[in-house]
């Protein structure tokens, strides 16, 4: 299979949490997830806050040392040993464009830093040329190079962050909520830029976000997470038109659509209660406490992702 760029197999990320009296219990932030991302493809990852989507992205890049599981990039397993080399191929864009840029560095140095780390430029002139090229990719002017991050608006800062991620010519970028801190009128600029860069450079994205309309727009396939598990993966349109997991169903119905006739005509499925704490997860299926269809079996055994045809994978006993 040559189309697969990144394969994640049974990735687990547990964090020890002290509960007093010298005891620790594991917080299962990401619990046994498997997914694949094709070359030049965008996989959307959605879920509510605390469901582990950001942790998943960070574990894939080994910003955390995963508890268990494998990440295979382009046929080669990513390990602690080869991670420096791997970071040249996979990069990250962070959510908050205010805290992810060093306030004491000029834009040129921020974008140039990955080039220095990986020794990609022979001399200063070459480095400067590459930085200016990257800046033009993301729609920043050359005269911005000498400025500091605080002189830019949120949208422009996010562009700087994207240029930094692109500096090493990666094949894969984890985008962790890259537009959620931006104003509505600016979001579209950044979304379009992501799409244009993908067409131009053939880079693949794992696009993490909680805004389902944005994710649907940018992604070819979408994975839905709930409490550390992936509950459904499908083609973006298929997922939106025929959601199978009860959680996906209610998540989609809860999204307010900016179209009065459409949004008022549809039936909202309101979920009761809140997301349970990941420290005290329900037995069996994590969603069963809020699920309308929950049965005995759901409490006893956790369903696994199974293919329901056409790559539409669902983890549910009932549906």
């Amino acid at each position: 299979m040559n189309d697969t760029l990144l394969e994640v197999r049974n990735l687990k990320q547990y964090f020890p949490v002290k509960t007093g009296f010298g005891k620790t219990i594991p917080l299962k932030a990401v619990d046994d997830i498997s997914l694949t991302v094709g070359r030049g493809e965008t996989l959307g990852l959605v879920g509510e806050s605390g469901c582990g989507k950001t942790t998943a992205g960070r574990s894939i890049l080994r910003l955390y040392e995963p508890t268990a599981g494998e990440v295979i990039f382009d046929g080669e397993p990513v390990t602690a040993k080869n991670i420096t080399h791997m970071r040249k191929l996979m990069q990250m864009v962070f959510q908050d464009p205010y805290s992810s840029l060093d306030p004491r560095m000029t834009v040129e140095d921020i974008i140039g830093e990955p080039l220095d780390v990986h020794h990609l430029c022979a001399n200063r002139k070459e480095r400067r040329e590459r930085v200016l090229e990257l800046m033009s990719f993301v729609g920043l002017n050359a005269e911005h190079a000498r400025r500091y991050a605080h002189e830019f608006s949120g949208g422009q800062r996010q562009r700087i962050g994207i240029a930094r991620a692109l500096a090493v010519n990666p094949k894969f970028i984890v985008c962790d909520e890259p537009v959620s801190a931006l104003d509505v009128s600016i979001q579209a600029q950044v979304i379009n830029m992501f799409e244009e860069l993908q067409e131009k450079l053939g880079v693949a994205y794992l696009f993490i976000a909680h805004d389902l309309l944005v994710v649907h727009h940018i992604s070819r396939r979408i994975a839905v997470m709930y409490l550390g598990k992936i509950v459904e993966i499908a083609d973006a349109d298929e997922l939106n038109e025929h959601p199978q997991h009860p959680y996906t169903e209610s998540l989609l119905s809860a999204v307010p659509i900016p179209d009065p006739d459409v949004t008022r005509a549809r039936k909202r499925i309101i979920l009761e209660g809140d997301v349970p704490s990941p420290l005290h997860r329900p037995s069996g299926c994590p969603f069963r406490t809020r699920c309308r269809y929950a049965t005995e079996q759901c409490a006893q055994e956790c369903p696994t992702l199974t293919d329901r045809g056409g790559g539409h994978q669902v983890a549910c006993w009932v549906k």
Partner: protein, 331 residues
């Protein structure tokens, strides 16, 4: 014309900072009817929250209403004394804020804080006040009211805290509820719960709601009438259907083109170019003009006046004047 519940007339609110006067609200007028849900939409810095705060007179120290009138049932609020305003806030008009964590006091129990609102504005005391608190907690759909009363805000989830804020705002059954980005800090499924709650309470109690938000989806879902703001001015107003299906201001049009929607999933989004407005340095003419793709010469120098498009649908955009002129000339 029957008397409006609330009428804001040519409101000007400014903040006096070291860098100069910031005209956050620049001549805003609108009226609110009994039992209406009015949406105020705009991006950050458009003056939508400041408009809400001006009505309640809870502006930050540097801010002041410098012009215009706010009439509540025909009475001018600016002539009211501070103690009259105290009873207005809470009794006639309440507000809920974006972040339910920072708007609740962390060192008092939920019951204590709710009771404060009840005691302050009603005659109820002691056990009677406690009964009312319990009623309120049940009203906003939280079970085990007795237990919740003894809990502190940190023991509750975000959605639960926002419910408590709503309970507090409704303690005296106000005529107007101002909701300032009530669901922005919440998850989608929790947002749906809170919006549903506001809708059902609005129907039950018949109060008017001013919903301030940047989320066009929430606006489309909830509101009868919509006011679109940009740079401290109203650029367009009308019913939800008019605004979404027949936008007549370039900013509204741009905004609707730039958000992903069911209809444009496969198409490229059309972003609004440029960066958000700098309120310290407002353009002389139309505030949106530096980012507008259809801007004309007149937009640079003259502020457009509101033009009636169709009944209550009004827009302040020179393009409409141009269209009208061309229509007349063609005849």
């Amino acid at each position: 014309m029957s008397e409006k519940l609330l009428s804001v007339q040519d409101l000007h609110t400014s903040f006096f900072t070291d860098a100069g006067e910031v005209q956050a609200v620049n001549g805003v007028s609108f009226a609110l009817d009994h039992g209406e849900i009015l949406g105020i939409v705009g991006e950050s810095g458009s003056g939508k929250s400041v408009t809400a705060y001006s009505i309640m007179q809870i502006l930050a120290e540097t801010g002041r209403v410098v012009g215009g009138k706010i009439l509540y049932k025909g009475q001018d609020l600016s002539t009211w004394s501070e103690s009259q305003m105290q009873s207005f806030r809470g009794k006639n008009c309440s507000i809920i804020f974006q972040d339910p964590m920072t708007s609740l006091n962390p060192v008092f129990t939920i019951g204590n804080q709710l009771k404060e609102a009840v005691v302050l504005h009603t005659e109820r005391r002691g056990a009677e006040a406690d009964r009312r608190v319990k009623e309120l907690i049940e009203l906003v759909g939280i079970n085990e009211a007795e237990k919740r009363m003894k809990q502190y805000p940190f023991e509750l989830s975000g959605g639960m805290r926002q419910r408590i804020m709503i309970a507090m705002a409704l303690a005296c059954e106000p005529d107007i509820l101002i909701a300032d980005e009530p669901t922005t800090a919440l998850d989608v499924t929790i947002q749906a719960q809170i919006l549903e709650l506001i809708q059902s309470l609005q129907k039950k109690m018949g109060m008017a709601v001013i919903l301030v938000t940047h989320d066009l989806g929430v606006i489309a879902d909830m509101c009868d009438n919509i006011v679109v703001m940009y740079g401290g001015r109203i650029c367009e107003r009308g019913t939800a259907r008019e605004i979404f299906y027949n936008p007549r201001h370039e900013y509204t049009k741009g905004l609707l083109r730039s958000i992903p929607n069911v209809s444009n999933m496969k198409k490229k989004l059309v972003p609004i170019s440029g960066t958000p407005i700098n309120m310290l340095n407002l353009p002389k003419g139309c505030a949106f003009c530096p980012r507008c793709s259809a801007a004309m010469k007149i937009c640079l120098t003259e502020v457009p006046q509101e033009l009636t498009i169709n009944g209550a649908h009004k827009a302040a955009c020179w393009m409409n004047v141009k269209d009208a002129y061309e229509e007349v000339r063609a005849k």
